[in-house]
Amino acid sequence: MRIALTILAVAALASVPLWLRDPYLLNSLITTGIFVIGAMSLNLLLGFTGQLSLGHIAFFGIGAYVSALTSLGFDVGLPGGFRLVHAPWPPIVGFVLAIIIAGLCGYFVGLLSFRVRGAYFVIVTISFAEVVRLVALNWVELTQGPLALTNIPSIGLPLPGVGELTLRTKLQNYYLVLVVALIAYLLIARLVRSHFGRAMRGLMENETLAVSVGIDVTKTLTLAAVISAAIAGAAGSLYAHYIRIIDPEVFAFINTVTMVIMVISGGKGSLAGPVVGGLIFGLLPVALRPVMAPEAQWIAYGGVLIAILFVLPRGIVPSLAQRFRRSRSGTTALAPVALAETAVKERA
């Protein structure tokens, strides 16, 4: 049932460029897809370990900058009169490096910030993202600061024996994003159903109990942070090579909020949640554009976030899944559902 639905959804998404000819809409779908990948990676932390990281855009941005700088090359002075010179490498190497370096950053940030919990964790993660943004803004020699890195080459796929296929068109980029999103989805799905995923959920439910049965908190959380950051870095790299211009605004807090909204509205802790929430909130600005001024759109954005938390605090996918189960199993199953509901309410 679930596999059939997944295949159906993938087939539907893969068919989109066949009937959608509008380049603006296709462009919105590509950027939305990139943010959905980011949202899926955030969901790994937020939905499966219960840690609300509001600095997630840092890893996305680091991925974007690493990938862009790898493929553009740079020449910066270091303290002590040394110069670090890097000749441009193919963008695909940048993509791989983006994943590795974002993952490494995830490791160090995780190691430091998992010492605190709750509100303090949230504030540390925000601070980290802002420090990275300020470095990107002020280290002009490396990042061009507010002048932005421009002319970032499109990503190219090496084809053995044939040469290289450079993905320039929207159509090619759409399928690239779809494939990366699918890989990320399957990776996360595999992960949360493993022993490691059960450890993460155990931690989220009751940390003290999880520790007492022998779960290594720091190791589990840090591993989740590394994988989450690496996937976000991959999304950032795709973004850099698709948009082809990167400035420090990529680190804006509102981008993290966008990902959080995608996860929360779709349903945190649900695999399909970030995809559903991401498609809704990624395409909502497109739908609102003809009827609303940009400022009014953001007001609506904030309003919708509040409304979702009030009306569907568990998110769209879990609520729908529960309704579906209830209607299928009739009245006999109502008791456990009601029990589960009260349990959820009590936990909240």
Binding site: L52, L112, S113, R115, V116, G118, A119, Y120, V122, I123, V124, I126, S127, F128, E130, V131, L134, V135, L137, N138, F253, I254, V257, V260, I264, A293, E295, A296, Q297, W298, I299, Y301, G302, G303, V304, L305, I306, L309, F310, P313, R347, A348
Partner: protein
């Protein structure tokens, strides 16, 4: 040396308003366990009230300040009643996200109404600064420091000498027991949020005329407030005052001796350093209101 003295004077002026911001946030954080992301918007709101009252209505500068404080109080009470009261008992993440939603909506509202162009407020103070030997300070900044000091004193007295303050301290220590003793905890929450908000609005109303007023001015202010709260410890008013001055000093020295581009990074660096090395804040021993 004279450069260093000048930095110290600037630190005093900035520190006063930072302390106001920090006290407001630490009260809300400590008593209500709410991470108030609308704090920066309230700061912006206070500044815009100054702009409206002085520039658009044409009232006296000194009259505009109490108006801004009162407006911040009312807006804070409204936010608490509509958004936070229905969420009582929900987890801290949910209220935090609701506050983020309110922040986005309100900041965009400001942008929509007044546009993105920076505004300035005319002040009745002379242009020429007060020169004391090697340092100089503008009369406006001196007034800002005095007003901030007065507001800090009023807040201190309110919390330590009045029955409302006693009820707030009791709620901070244990809201169930306070409720059993006849404290109306809902009312205390609303008052706390309103007082904290009015202090943020006051800080904005004081610093707005010093700099310029624009819709996003509150974002950095909010971060600074978080840094101060973390520095001073949760719910610790004295800590927030000291934290405000430490942050101002770090910013002045960072801007003066490192690079002005990193002035605003100091707050984040402090947050990260404190939470990693001393997560309870620098003044953990006195971790309670008052």
């Amino acid at each position: 040396m004279s450069e260093f003295l000048q930095h110290l004077v600037n630190m005093l002026v900035l520190g006063g308003t930072y302390a106001l911001l920090g006290i407001g946030l630490t009260l809300i954080f400590g008593i209500m366990n709410v991470v108030n992301f609308t704090h920066g918007v309230l700061y912006t709101f206070g500044a815009y009230i100054m702009f409206i009252v002085v520039q658009q209505i044409g009232l006296n500068f000194f009259l505009a300040l109490p108006v801004a404080v009162l407006a911040g109080w009312l807006l804070g009470a409204a936010i608490e009643l509509t958004l936070l009261r229905p969420l009582r008992g929900f987890d801290i993440d949910t209220t935090m996200l609701v506050m983020i939603g309110a922040w986005i909506a309100m900041q965009s509202g400001t942008l929509w109404i007044w546009g993105g162009v920076a505004k300035s407020v005319a002040t009745p103070f002379p242009e020429a600064p007060l020169v004391l030997g090697p340092v100089s300070v503008s009369w406006l900044r001196l007034f800002v420091l005095a007003a901030a000091a007065l507001l800090i004193l009023v807040t201190y007295l309110l919390i330590n000498k009045t029955s409302l303050g006693r009820a707030m301290r009791a709620t901070f220590q244990d809201h169930d027991t306070a409720s059993l003793m006849g404290v109306n905890v809902d009312m205390i929450y609303t008052s706390t949020f309103a007082i904290g908000s009015s202090l943020a609005a006051a800080a904005g109303a004081l610093l707005g005329p010093v700099y310029v007023i624009f819709p996003q001015m509150g974002d950095l202010a909010a971060v600074k407030a978080f840094a101060i709260v973390i520095l001073g410890g949760l719910g610790n008013i004295t800590g927030a005052v000291i934290g405000g001055f430490i942050l101002a000093l770090a910013e002045e020295l960072g801007a003066g001796y490192v690079s002005s581009g990193y002035r605003d990074a100091m707050g984040f660096v402090i947050i990260i350093a404190v939470l990693i090395f001393k997560p309870t804040g620098l003044f953990a021993r006195a971790e309670r209101v008052g």
